[in-house]
């Protein structure tokens, strides 16, 4: 479904991705873990094609999206939805307009049909009665859930989540995890979830990959990762301050 080969990206002199390769199978939920600032968000932005790599390829259903023009990306993007770390809701639009954005921009639905779809998407993320709110009126956790609703509304085959549970309370975090799991089970969505919350990772992942120093250093099922013999992975998943990863390493 998605195959990433030898991806390199530097910002000025800072090398963020350094020959990263990764494969995500159809219908799989892949969790990518890694320290803050190691380039997880940058990786997701490469996959949706809003950052161009310095080197390397990204195949989505066998189409190399790094080689095609922005205008041809549209059909690929219609299959993918991204939930941004900060939500990235359009702050001049209401919640309902945000969630139904794609339906209004790309299809010819009536206002009533759009409202139905919006209500349905919002109830999936357990938000009711916020349709007419503006994004500034929402709490951080609500913004995240609205962003997920906006992604669901696209009926995508692939959903990329950038830290969906960071900064929300444990109960909401759990319901978001359940939601991701459900979308995977019911709609057979392929998901990539970036997180450093190990509890969520174990709950939702089919497979977990760890990003370290610009590469994937370990990849496997949650059990395999939990029983790792790799000192770096061990240190990360157990959240230890001593070990091979130093404060300054990313």
């Amino acid at each position: 479904m998605i195959r990433i080969e030898g991806l390199c990206k530097s910002f000025n002199s800072l090398k963020v991705l350094d020959g990263l390769s990764l494969e995500i199978k159809e219908g799989e939920t892949k969790v990518i873990i890694g320290r803050s600032g190691c380039g997880k968000s940058v990786l997701l932005k490469h996959i949706v094609g809003i950052i161009k790599p310095d080197k390397g390829s990204i195949f989505i259903e066998d189409k190399d999206i790094t080689k095609i023009k922005e205008s041809q990306l549209k059909s690929v993007r219609m299959k993918m939805a991204m939930v941004f770390q900060g939500g990235a809701l359009f702050d001049s639009l209401t919640v309902a307009e945000n969630v139904g954005f794609v339906l209004r921009e790309h299809y010819h639905f009536s206002d009533k049909e759009i409202l139905e779809a919006v209500k349905e998407a919002l109830s999936m993320v357990e938000l009711d009665g916020v349709e007419e709110f503006m994004p500034v009126q929402l709490s951080g956790g609500m913004k995240k859930r609205v962003a997920i609703a906006r992604a669901i509304c696209m009926r995508p085959k692939i959903i990329l989540y950038d830290e969906p549970t960071t900064g929300v309370d444990p109960i909401t975090a759990d319901s978001i995890n359940t939601l991701i799991r459900n979308l995977h089970d019911r709609l057979k969505v392929t998901s990539i979830v970036v997180t450093h919350d190990m509890k969520s990772a174990y709950r939702i992942a089919d497979r977990i990959a760890m990003l370290y120093k610009g590469r994937i250093i370990a990849e496997g099922t949650p059990e395999e990762i939990q029983n790792t013999s790799d000192a770096i992975v061990y240190q990360f998943i157990n959240g230890l301050s001593w070990g091979p990863i130093k404060k300054e390493d990313l």
Partner: protein, 263 residues
Amino acid sequence: MKSCLYFLNKLGNRFLALLYFIGGLADLTLHTIFFTFYPPFKKRAILEQAERIGYKSLPIVSLLALFIGVILALQTAVLMQRLGSEMYIASIVALSVVRELGPVITALIVAGRAGAAMTAEIGSMIITEQVDALRTLAVNPLQYLVVPRFLASMLMLPILTIYANVIGIVGGYLICVYKLYISSNMYISITLEALKFKDIFTGLVKSLFFGMIIALVSCFYAFKTEGGAEGVGRATRSSVVVSFVLILSADCLFTSIFYFIFP
């Protein structure tokens, strides 16, 4: 020697930056014009922008245009009274306002008001990843954000300019009729006699281009925003300064063209 090299280096960088600016702006202009004719057409968004750029600018345009008319009348009155030909005040006010001050003052007001707001708005959308989100939702930010502003600005500037022209002339009228005791009928007939179609037309052509400059420069700097709130501030400042410079240089160019080539 060393300082000389340093100087050349600096100069070279400045020159390159200028080339990048021209290239970037030209690129944005061509793309915007292309997407202007590319469906879907966003009538609602255009109207919304037209309201912000045009309608909401009316109070400040009225005030400043009135001042300009009053000032012009008073200043020319000083000279004309010395020459004993107060009759000409009306035609000088009418011509200066319609040919020059109406279009330019309107453009400067809109650049400072609506242009700055455009840069700040799109710039903060950039830093909060809303523009990235647009792209992931398969919407072209140029088509969604720039085209409505471009069209609205191009449409509203000439309309605002006509309005400013009228108010400016009214300013002159008030001074001449109530302070200098020129008869109302006289003032109006001299004004109408002085204004040729060409004067009005050239002013409006200018304002059309000013509208394009404002929208394109504001959006150009908006899309270059980086960093946080400070970056938005920086982008907004550049967009206003550069809009002002380009508006006045374009004005200079147009005025010379109309003077030397199509007199």
